[in-house]
């Protein structure tokens, strides 16, 4: 089976300091993979390399078998890659449904239409409300982002990505800054993502995150130091050393 994501010998340095150092990684279709590691381990840099926001110094990135190492970010999105951001990155002056509509437009050829009013695309907004329903926010569809709570914004982040029906979804700390109850809600949401979608997730909250993933990769100083099932990784002394701190 072709891996959803195949990374080989990936390197990226900032001013001589390696942020990603010879990382190789494979994520199979439908897999849930968790990436952990201390602050500065290069987790978000790895995401930015996968999405194309950063270009690697060396190495290859394959999406579903296709080499996308040199493709610009929007082209990778058209190949089934979607992501969320650790720092909320939404269109704060616009309504929730408009945010989702922009997400859907990104993959639709209608995005080039300059003459038909966007408001006339009833099916687009209908679909947007359906996606918002999936994350439990349909009742807020007409509210601007600036008027909803932080926890709701986190859900919109995920809804933006889900609206694209991605094949590979990158979640960058989807639980960051959420209360205990909110965490339970968002965890349920992530657990409910259909199995056709491969999920690669960065998360600090080990208690919750470990339950979501089958396999775990531990990054430290830009390198993969441990990889395996939950039990293997937790039992490995190297994990304890760098991450669990004893």
């Amino acid at each position: 089976m072709t891996p959803a994501l195949q990374i080989g010998g990936l390197r990226k340095a900032f001013g001589g300091l390696p942020a990603t150092d010879n990382v190789s990684l494979e994520v199979m279709p439908g897999e849930r993979r968790l990436i952990i590691g201390p602050n500065g381990a290069g987790k978000t840099t790895l995401f930015n390399l996968i999405t194309g926001d950063l270009s690697p110094d060396a190495g290859t990135i394959r999406l579903f078998g296709e080499d996308v190492s040199r493709l610009r970010p929007h082209r990778r999105a058209h190949r089934g890659l979607a992501r969320t951001y650790q720092i909320i990155t939404l269109f704060s002056g616009d309504t929730l449904e408009h945010n989702i509509a922009l997400s859907q437009l990104g993959l639709s050829k209608h995005r080039w239409n300059m003459f038909r009013p966007l408001a006339d695309y009833a099916d687009l907004y209908g679909e947007a409300r359906r996606v918002l329903g999936r994350v439990g926010l349909e009742h807020l569809a007409r509210r601007p982002i600036s008027e909803v709570s932080y926890g709701e914004k986190r859900r919109v982040e995920i809804a933006m990505a889900l609206a694209q029906n991605p094949r590979l979804l990158l979640l960058d700390e989807p639980l960051a800054g959420l209360s205990r109850e909110e965490r339970v809600g968002v965890t349920g949401l992530i657990a409910g993502i259909p199995r056709e979608v491969s999920v690669l997730m960065i998360e600090h909250d080990m208690d919750t995150a470990l339950d979501l993933a089958e396999r775990i990769t531990v990054l430290h100083y830009g390198s993969v130091i441990v990889e395996g099932t939950r039990a293997e990784v937790v039992a490995d002394p190297k994990t304890r050393e760098v991450y669990l701190g004893d």
Binding site: D53, R72, F91, L105, G106, L107, R111, N113, M114, F115
Partner: protein, 309 residues
């Protein structure tokens, strides 16, 4: 604006030449030209978040092309108009390709530099542009045999072109493409992660904005029947930008109102106050101080507050 308001404005504009003298009719025609110019610049500044100081290039290039084709090539308006629009848009395609290597301040400086090149060329390339003397002896077109030399006739011609231009720009802003353009202004990184080609969206917006700038240029040269390098000057670009910001960038009505203020100051107030530029400066400072997002959004807020009482 509600339906009643719109109908009232339409009626007022339609009957203005019947009640006003030539001075005010001509002043209104100039406002129309400035309105298209500012509205087209606003597509870039207000909706694209790309502040340009070179928009006068499109007025100048379209004007000079049309004038040169008529004077030196003997080409009629029916052919010179589309050639001027096409040629200007083509140049905009190249300028946009260069300027959009940057955003923000870098973009501003490149547009300024490129427009200064065009301005310098207009001054120096005297065999084509007649240099500092400008090109004179131009005519207005006569669509369907209607003579546009009278103030009222030209007013109606300009009104129709302006209404059509603003309508097309409003459609653009409200379209999916317009929404994507605003998206690239607010969250460019997210937009590319969503599959939008941010660079191409900006480039198309740049070219589209220049096209309507060129339409303003044609009206400008038809109105003045004369073209001089000052049309291409930084002052002209800056006046357009002033109109956009004073009226309210990123709104449809703002630049029209802002352009009207600038034209009225320049043509009407200058007859009474010698230092009209200073007054324009004061007005601008007052607007920025009291209504930082522009007159139209500011007045809208006041109106809403007054109604809530």
């Amino acid at each position: 604006m509600n339906r009643t308001g719109r109908v009232a404005v339409a009626i007022a504009l339609a009957v203005l030449p019947l009640v006003a003298g030539d001075f005010y009719i001509n002043l209104s025609s100039q406002i129309f030209v400035a309105a298209i110019f500012a509205a087209s610049l606003n597509l870039l500044v207000g909706y694209g978040g790309l502040t340009s100081l070179g928009h006068a290039s499109w007025i100048g290039l379209a004007s000079y092309t049309s004038a040169w084709l008529y004077l030196k090539m003997g080409v009629g308006h029916m052919i010179s108009a589309p050639m001027a629009l096409g040629g200007t848009t083509l140049v905009a395609g190249i300028f946009g390709w260069i300027a959009l290597r940057a955003t923000g301040l870098g973009f501003l400086m490149i547009t300024l530099a490129l427009s200064q090149v065009v301005w310098g060329t207009a001054y120096r390339w005297a065999s084509v542009t007649n240099g500092d003397n400008g090109l004179t002896g131009l005519t207005r077109p006569a669509p369907f045999g209607i003579d546009l030399d009278g103030a009222a006739a030209f007013y109606y011609f300009a009104l129709i072109i302006t209404a059509f231009s603003l309508w097309m720009m409003a459609k653009f802003v409200n379209s999916p493409f317009g929404a994507a353009l605003r998206g690239t202004r607010d969250q460019p990184r997210r937009m590319s992660a969503l599959g939008h080609d941010v660079w191409l969206i900006r480039w198309i917006a740049f070219v589209y904005s220049a096209f309507w700038g060129a339409v303003a240029g044609l009206l400008y040269v038809y109105y003045n029947k004369y073209i001089h390098p000052t049309a291409l000057s930084l002052t002209n670009s800056a006046e357009g930008l002033l109109g956009v910001i004073a009226g309210g960038s990123g709104t449809l009505a703002g630049p029209v109102v802002g352009a009207a203020i600038v034209v009225i100051m320049k043509n009407y107030v200058s007859a009474y106050i010698e230092r009209w530029n200073m007054l324009l400066g004061f007005v601008f400072v007052a607007i920025v101080l009291f209504m930082p997002d522009g007159l139209v959004p500011g007045l809208r807020r006041l109106w809403a507050r007054w109604r809530a009482k």
